[in-house]
Assembly symmetry: C2
Homo-oligomer: 194 residues x 2
DNA sequence: GAATGACATTGATCCAAGTCAAGAACGATA
DNA sequence: TATCGTTCTTGACTTGGATCAATGTCATTC
């Protein structure tokens, strides 16, 4: 059951029991084993995910190099670019761990919204929250060095450092694995010269 | 009058004449001279802008350094982070040119949405478009070098290079003005060695 | 326990961006 | 025209990340 979704939403919006019911009925939960690729470059994005358990990574291949765009963990929404539109995806989605997620499709969502227009308020709120997060991420990334970004990660999402291999963290920070290794070394002995 | 807003929206959504009327009545247009600061760090963000003419820059000050987050031009929406919420803004907004914009405030917007709930669909669509753009920007920025970002700008927004001083373009690309100058030089004589 | 493969660290070298300082180009204005 | 301020360019030097190659570490498996 996906009462978790209702619980989550209720932090941002008052969710009546009826609404919770609607949500539970119009969505379905699915499990994916580790390393499942949910979306490939060039494919049409058909599904959105709300993660209940596990971790999804979004990345692109550029000149054969794997570049991490974002990590998504429990209670986060993964909405691929161009979801439901007839455009080929530029990025990949893969499960880094065994993952359980509420899966939604645009047409199903549309039907639900048509039937329960009140839900649009919730959607609007969620989308706004998402846009805000993106703005913050963009501003942060633009205005910081790899070292600062690493320190930010240590402070704000230490869990990621535990569950994700370092070379993927490096790609997320925008550097090569070797560089992240050196950044860590640098930071580990701050007591030296100057 | 702000029928321009309705015209713009009609590209994404069917806008009835009635809706256009509502929009025109519930918004007002304002002019700002060049260099007007619309929002300062620490202030509460009270207003959103839809630019009819001119250009707005969003930036933050970090260790006394001015870092450009984004440029907004005609037909773009400027929605400050935390708009209407009781949190101090982290960024500044300034007009780079004499600017004319449709100005909206959250409570006014709320009133309009309460009166014309159909508008929520429009809002949702606009917010989704905004979130998409942000996702693309973030992915692009994360996965490219300053040189690539400059080439991207030349290709996709050559107008910005015309109307915005180079040192602000540099800060937008994430480099110092000197570096942008050298990037341009490098690119201008591609016929050499190797 | 030896071999394999995946990940992390280290060293050497290269290059792009940062920094500091000087000058060039340009427009506005006296 | 002379002067001033702003923006852009150039030069010399430093620094941090990229790259390539070697080695270290650890878990898995035969």
């Amino acid at each position: 059951m996906s009462t978790e979704l209702a619980t989550y939403l209720s932090r941002y919006m008052p969710i009546t029991d009826e609404l919770a019911d609607v949500l539970a009925k119009s969505s379905f939960v699915q499990s994916y084993p580790r390393a499942t690729v949910l979306l490939r470059e060039g494919e049409r994005a058909e599904k959105g995910y709300f993660i209940l358990k596990g971790c999804i990574r979004s990345y692109i291949l550029k000149n054969g190099e794997d570049k991490t765009i974002e990590f998504f963990i429990e209670e986060e929404s993964v909405l691929p670019l161009g979801l439901g539109k007839d455009v080929p995806s530029e990025h990949f989605l893969e499960c880094l761990e065994d993952t359980v997620a509420v899966v939604s499709t645009p047409d199903q969502e549309e039907r639900t919204l048509a039937e329960y227009p009140q839900l649009k308020t919730v959607c609007l709120a969620m989308t706004e929250i998402m846009a805000e997060k993106l703005q913050v991420s963009l501003a942060r990334y633009r205005t910081s060095t790899p070292e600062e970004r690493y320190l930010d990660l240590v402070e704000k999402r230490p869990d990621l450092l535990q569950r994700i291999p370092q070379y993927q963290i490096a790609s997320y920070l925008g550097v090569q694995p070797e560089s992240l290794s050196r950044i860590r070394k640098r930071l580990s002995r701050p007591t030296e010269k100057k």
